[in-house]
């Protein structure tokens, strides 16, 4: 058995209304220890108002070998960006 504790990915919500963002990882035996570790490592400078921790092995990553077929087709499709119309001045937060 490995002596290393399992790895957890940490997500922090910086303030209400924003989504949780991945900030790093901690080692912990269970979810409660992971929350405490994440609190002490990643929110000690007022970085957040909410934490998520997720077992790293619960995350499925895309295969780097497939990157070309997954992501490159989007390269020549600039029309998918909503940049082809003018946003009125008084519309905020876009």
């Amino acid at each position: 058995m490995s002596r290393e504790l399992p790895l957890w990915e940490v997500f922090v919500r910086a303030k209400n209304g924003l989504s949780h963002r991945h900030v790093g990882s901690v080692h912990a035996a269970d979810a409660r220890m992971a929350i405490e570790g994440a609190r002490d490592v990643y929110t000690r400078r007022l970085e957040g108002v909410s934490l998520w921790v997720v077992p790293s092995d619960a995350i499925t990553a895309s295969d780097p070998g497939e990157a070309a077929s997954l992501f490159e087709p989007a390269e020549d499709k600039v029309y998918r960006h909503p940049t082809f119309y003018v946003v009125p001045d008084n519309i905020k937060h876009i």
Binding site: L5, V26, H27, A28, A29, R32, M33, E36, G37, R39, D40, V41, R44
Partner: protein, 254 residues
């Protein structure tokens, strides 16, 4: 306010500050040495919370005293006999088991104390306590979780928690001892009757130890003396390091 009354008030606030200062410094010794990176930061945060509380208490004590001493002067330019912290907080850290058991015993006491102190007739003290109680509640939670993990963990971790508990237990009685000089402060609702905190403290600790499969140690004759300046040899060694800079370069700042 009579001189005697003022002195008693200042002394009792200095004791609150010294508990936090000395334990904060002790916990700081773990920085860079804790079992894991996560715990290193947990302990550093915890120690810094305590130093922050010490700053508030000692600055306030200095203001009340009116002799021109601020928190720094009280922390760095008093000799060991003038410190009023309890003996528990000055004990060497030992291993992580002993450190975290001490933290549980002290944080549970401090949380109960600050919850009561937040209702003090001394509004400044009440404000400091109300701010600190949030920090201390987390310390208590963190320490309780670890005591349960160690106690209910492997044979090795169980024994270390058990040894830590046995080591620290003789210093518990002093936490709840009421200084006769404080009687007037209790009547005036300025300070908390520590004696009344013992029963709820026993219940909290009993629950955690039971979850941790640890026994409450048999009664021992409590060691006291810190509140009257009779300290163990450990405090002097700690202060010689903590106060070195201000002793060698008085008034140095950066």
């Amino acid at each position: 306010m009579s001189d005697q009354h003022l002195q008693a008030r200042v002394a009792s606030i200095i004791a609150l500050g010294d508990d936090a200062l000395v334990l904060g410094q002790r916990i700081g010794e773990w920085c860079g040495h804790a079992p894991t990176l996560e715990l290193d930061l947990s302990l550093a945060n915890l120690g810094l919370d305590l130093i922050g509380q010490a700053t508030l208490f000692l600055n306030y004590a200095g203001e009340l005293e009116g002799q021109g001493r601020n928190g720094d002067a009280l922390a760095f330019r008093r000799d060991v006999y003038d410190f009023r912290n309890c003996l528990l907080v000055e004990q060497p850290n030992g291993d992580f088991g002993r450190t975290i058991v001490r933290q549980l015993l002290f944080s549970a006491y401090q949380r109960l104390l600050f919850e009561s102190l937040a209702k003090s007739a001394d509004s400044r003290l009440a404000e400091i306590a109300a701010k600190a109680v949030k920090e201390v509640s987390y310390h208590e939670r963190l320490a309780a979780d670890w005591v349960v993990r160690l106690g209910d963990g492997t044979e090795e971790s169980h024994n270390r928690a058990k040894d830590g508990l046995a080591w620290n237990w003789r210093f518990v009685d002093e936490l709840f001892a009421v200084d006769p000089a404080e009687a007037e402060l209790l009547t005036a609702g300025l300070m908390v009757d520590r004696n009344a905190l013992r029963a709820p403290w026993d219940r909290i600790i009993g629950t955690v130890l039971s979850d941790a499969t640890l026994q409450i140690p048999p009664p021992v004759r409590g060691v006291v003396g810190g509140r009257t300046g009779r300290h163990s040899e450990h405090l002097g060694h700690m202060l010689s390091e903590m106060q070195f800079l201000q002793r060698a370069y008085p008034g140095a700042s950066w």
